[in-house]
Symmetry: C2
Subunit: 252 residues, 2 copies
DNA sequence: CGCATTATTGATTGATTTCAAAGAGTGTGG
DNA sequence: CCACACTCTTTGAAATCAATCAATAATGCG
């Protein structure tokens, strides 16, 4: 099971990822020493209930993380993007199945080794904690979405979140990549595939988004999208001085 | 801001709580040195967005933790019971409002002090991690509930969870205390108060539960309740007599 | 005891699901 | 290069579950 020795190590590759992190020892720097493994789209990294032997960092690609309910429904609890950690449950069994949506590259540590590293580094610990807290915050937002939002609000929220996630990477692009299928979206948003499809169509008809291939859309009216997503949108003036950035990302 | 000096310390009080914890230094032992504060039912401990200055441990009582959506809906993301921690977000702002459901007793640390203690203790750290992971697991279960379960499944799941939670405290009691109101339940389960009420009535008519005052019910058919909750329970014997009730509630 | 709050019950509406079918995109092999 | 099979997506019509609207009942508090 120790597949991390399969590929050659690429120490010089670190800087491209770790540039933005101030401390000498970051989680990303830690993982950067590990070998990169590749998973084809659709393949599972681990299964719910598996003995939790490894912790992963996503280098490239997108994964879905899900549970199967008693009556066979799939509930996707999150999507994992490059830079995110995967499998950081302190339980000894994975809480969910992780599956590659697209072709994915990962680095892994054994849980034991990872815990040692974390324990020995006062620098790493707060970073890991921060990750867990981000995950918790995301989970809570998702609970709000599932508990009270309409189909239109759910889909809009989803598009908005992935649009913003991308914006930090590839700035000034109104094109939002949607690597996952409609079924993935449905199982993430607590809707059926038909409702997702209908809602997308509705957003397109309303001119909020425009189709741009099957796995991407162009956000045409980001302010309206935010309003539909049910954000506290009294006004969107005072947020940042970098309103110019927002305009650059989403030119109206 | 060091409000923990307000009340007198009660070192002798520890044992009653800390008896069950093996290690010399447990989270509960840590908190046990702090003064106890009381919050009346309905009063807020902190608000979403407040500067996150303290971490709390619940000594007694139940709290609700919630967010308010853009359109004014309240979404309760969890209930906090004695022994649980509150406010362990590593963010510098609280992610949610915490409000006492019943009269509640808490102990608190400043965040700074708490982090120091955690950082200096290799014994405490895994305990805190385990708590966070339990919280995460609960959040995921809640996402599953909200994403795919019917009203009946939601209410049944809720009753089952609090029944099991109580069982560790006050054993061998099929009487489940429900300290929260129907509105609390509704806002937690992503339903309306009417639907919760109707579903409870339905469960009563079906003989699954029996009313026992407004804030408690008797679980008469725990196996059926588990089935209605959508748990993967392939086998289920009929369970009318008291002995099998207890077995079914607490199988382990 | 009366009033405010909380809970139940009933009737109706409506959003989303379900069922059904057709259309679009992708890859394969002849 | 095209036909075929497959999957994924869109669209339509009907059914359903929970929300909403409305009224009554129970509880608890001063």
């Amino acid at each position: 099971m120790f597949t991390e020795t399969i590929m050659s190590q690429r120490p010089g590759f670190v800087s491209a990822i770790a540039d933005t992190t101030p401390p000498a020892l970051s989680l990303q720097a830690l993982f950067s020493k590990q070998a990169v493994e590749t998973f084809e789209g659709g393949s599972a990294v681990f299964w719910e209930g598996d003995s939790a032997r490894h912790v992963f960092e996503v280098v490239e690609g997108v994964l879905r993380v899900f549970k199967i309910t008693g009556d066979g429904h799939r509930v996707i609890t999150g999507f994992i993007y490059p830079g995110d950690l995967l499998g950081v449950s302190l339980k000894d069994r994975y809480l969910y199945t992780a599956e590659a949506v697209t072709k994915t590259k990962l680095r892994r540590f054994t849980r034991r080794r990872f815990q040692e590293e974390i324990n020995q580094s006062p620098e790493l610990r707060p970073q890991l904690f921060a990750r867990l807290c981000d995950e918790m915050a995301a989970a809570q937002d998702q609970m709000v979405l599932l508990a009270r939002k309409s189909a239109e609000e759910r889909v809009s929220s989803f598009l908005l979140v992935i649009a913003r996630r991308l914006s930090s990477d590839q700035l000034a692009q109104p094109i939002v990549e949607i690597p996952m299928t409609r079924l993935d979206m449905a199982d993430y948003l607590g809707l059926t595939i038909e409702t997702v499809s209908r809602t997308m169509t509705k957003l397109i008809s309303a001119g909020v988004i425009a189709p741009s291939g099957r796995h991407s859309v162009i956000v045409r009216k980001p302010a309206k999208l935010a309003r539909l997503a049910g954000e506290g949108d009294d006004d969107d003036k005072q947020t940042w001085d970098q309103a110019s950035i927002q305009q650059a990302i989403w030119p109206q």
